[in-house]
């Protein structure tokens, strides 16, 4: 190996170590800090799993709600986001660029503003149609879907742009229906982008706080809001214990996917 290659390789390793260290150190702090007995100290004076034993049930209820909302919002947002992306890339109609910009708008507005506006909107619907959307799981899911759609669309648009439209035209010429051409030609081609969009949508929804703060009520409270309410009045290692459990759960899920399906093939990176 030449000298310049060794230097370049060494610099890459150092750079990667610094970046990974910066990204992973907070997670290690959270995990280690959760072993405090009763107060938040670092390093912990005594190691104990007491904070895991005292995790309130509300945290697990919040986790359940967050998972349900994130999954449902992602399921709803995916076909809508793909349809929007198809319209923007393949469509030839007036106002296409306007639609493109409009799709970005939920990401540009502060989530808190969106949350208040949605809350008021739901109140009006409830008053007019005698429903109970305000504070319901449905309202929460619809609110989260509104900002998940742009994530899916923005991830699919580059993949669609790169795919030559002639592939779809060839499929049609060979007798494929619109749906067949989409499912057998277009969908496999946009799979990497779609997988990324779905992942972003799910994570953003799971992690969302500002909009959820205004849309949650009673038992329909998401985990980030539960945790915020907890730390407003009590700052205990319990919060770190819950966070550590979420980290472990996420890592276990990724490991399971890698061992069973393989992350690379899930996103279509190793297609023959």
């Amino acid at each position: 190996m030449s000298g310049s290659n060794v230097v370049a390789r060494t610099c890459s390793i150092i750079f990667l170590t610094i970046v990974l260290g910066f990204l992973l150190t907070p997670l290690l702090y959270v995990a280690f800090g959760s072993l405090n007995a009763s107060t938040l100290e670092f390093p912990p004076r005594t190691l104990s799993i007491e904070s895991y034993r005292t995790i309130p049930e509300a945290f697990f209820d919040g986790l359940r709600v967050s998972l349900i909302v994130a999954a449902a919002a992602t399921v709803l947002a995916t076909p809508l986001g793909v349809a929007a992306a198809l319209g923007i890339v393949r469509g030839r109609f007036g106002g296409r660029e306007l639609l493109n910009g409009f799709l970005l708008s939920p990401l540009l507005l502060p989530m808190l503003v969106l949350g208040v506006a949605l809350y008021q909107f739901y109140v009006v619907i409830d008053r007019t149609a005698d429903t109970a959307i305000t504070g319901s799981l449905v309202g929460l899911i619809l609110g989260h879907t509104s900002f998940c759609i742009p994530y899916v669309a923005r991830a699919v648009i580059p993949a669609l742009t790169q795919m030559p439209p002639s592939l779809e035209e060839a499929a049609h010429d060979l007798g494929a229906s619109t749906w067949y051409a989409f499912s057998r030609v277009t969908l496999p081609a946009i799979r990497p982008g779609l997988a990324g969009g779905i992942a972003f949508a799910f994570l953003t929804s799971f992690d969302n706080f500002p909009m959820s703060l205004f849309l949650v009520e009673g038992d329909n409270t998401t985990l980030p809001v539960v945790m915020f309410q907890f730390i407003q009045f009590d700052l205990k290692p319990t919060i770190l214990a819950m966070s550590t459990l979420v980290i472990i759960f996420s890592m276990a899920a990724m490991l399971f996917i890698e061992k069973t399906v393989g992350l690379a093939s899930l996103v279509g990176l190793h297609e023959d």
Binding site: A132, T134, L137
Partner: protein, 362 residues
């Protein structure tokens, strides 16, 4: 048609519907026997579930749906919802209570339906009975007695003692949203000859203090006191006693305000929002919460808060372990309580928040 894909989508949709437990089908609000209670989170919520929620549910057969949030969120939701509030009873500290009251969003309580309202002490009776004080708490100074001894400082007797140069860089505070900070500023305003809620010059004086930190929440401030980073801070009494009970070397005092009173004596109002679909049940809850039994349980709960009724004084006289931690008796009858009575006062409060952020928390 790709039947495999369609089947997978149908199964996913069915799972989503099943997991959402029927909430996917929007239903009419079932408010016949459900009381929607908005309160603060953490130990407040846990305590109220035990001493208010469980007995009330047993007595009335009603079910309580608890929602925890902060007073700012509650106030904004009440304003956004207008005539269709999401709560039947809700806690609202000042000035958000005053904002909701001035906007006409709180119901006027009828002493015939809430007879325990007549037991509420004069200091805690709200304007036109638009809601009621639920519990009382004091605002004072917590200080590390070991550090003060080391520095040769006597225990603080005035709010202005926090400006001592020897404490520079080790005075903690919360944001202007916190009640003790409001009394801190009120004391400066009184000293400068202004009214207690006119803080223009008071903020300029407080801006000269070098604070250790600005805690967004009380839990953060308590953690810093425990860690020894903060040696003195304005704080709510119950939180100061929580630190003392942990065995920390801290003391709590009610400092002089400059108007013949000591410390701040506040309450947290509870209101029945106008337009609540279950106002009758809300009034029942209020009456129960103001009963001597509930008020005494509140004083001994996880986070101890003082009663707002006067009939417990004979009991508290004989129970110093409870009484020492909460405001009662002469502390209340001679107490000083801040209030914001007009929309102009409230508009000024928003300007003070901006001034505090710009000049003090820069």
């Amino acid at each position: 048609m790709d039947w495999r894909l369609m089947r997978r989508m149908a199964i996913s949709a069915a799972i989503v519907v099943a997991l959402t437990g029927g909430d996917v089908i929007v239903a009419r609000a079932q408010n016949g026997g459900v009381l929607r209670f908005g309160t603060y989170g953490g130990t407040m919520l846990e305590g109220q579930k035990i001493y208010l929620g469980e007995p009330f549910e047993a007595l009335t057969g009603a079910k309580i749906q608890w929602t925890a949030a902060t007073e700012e969120v509650f106030a904004n939701k009440l304003i956004a919802a207008g005539k269709s509030p999401a709560y039947d009873v809700v806690l609202l500290d000042d000035p958000w209570y005053s904002l909701v009251r001035v906007r006409g969003l709180a119901s006027k309580l009828d002493p015939a339906k809430v007879p325990n309202l007549n037991k509420v002490q004069k200091l805690f009776r709200l304007p036109e009975d638009m809601g009621s004080c639920l519990f009382s708490f004091s605002s004072g100074i917590v200080y590390n007695k070991n550090k003060f001894a080391e520095l040769g400082l006597p225990p603080p007797t005035r709010w202005q003692d926090l400006a001592s140069p020897k404490l520079s860089g080790h005075v903690g505070t919360q944001t202007l949203a916190a009640t003790p900070v409001k009394y801190f500023l009120a004391a400066y305003a009184i000293q400068l000859g202004d009214t207690p809620t006119k803080w223009d010059r008071a903020i300029d004086e407080v801006a000269k203090i070098k604070f250790q930190s600005f805690s967004a929440g009380i839990a953060d401030l308590m953690a810093k006191i425990e860690a020894g980073d903060v040696w003195a801070a304005p704080i709510v009494g119950s939180r100061a006693y929580a630190l003392i009970e942990k065995g920390l070397p801290v003391e709590y005092v009610l400092p002089e305000n400059g108007n013949g009173t000591k410390g701040g004596i506040s309450c947290t109002p509870i209101v029945v929002p106008k337009g609540s679909t279950n106002a009758a049940l809300g009034e029942k809850m209020l009456n129960f919460a103001l009963s001597p039994d509930a008020q005494l349980m509140q004083a001994t709960a996880i986070s101890a808060y003082g009663p707002v009724i006067s009939t417990l004084d004979p009991i508290l006289e004989k129970a110093p372990k409870i009484a020492d931690r909460i405001p009662w008796g002469k502390v209340v009858t001679n107490g000083f309580r801040l209030s914001w009575d007009s929309e102009a006062d409230l508009d000024r409060f928003s300007e003070y928040v901006e001034a505090w952020n710009r000049k003090v928390q820069k």
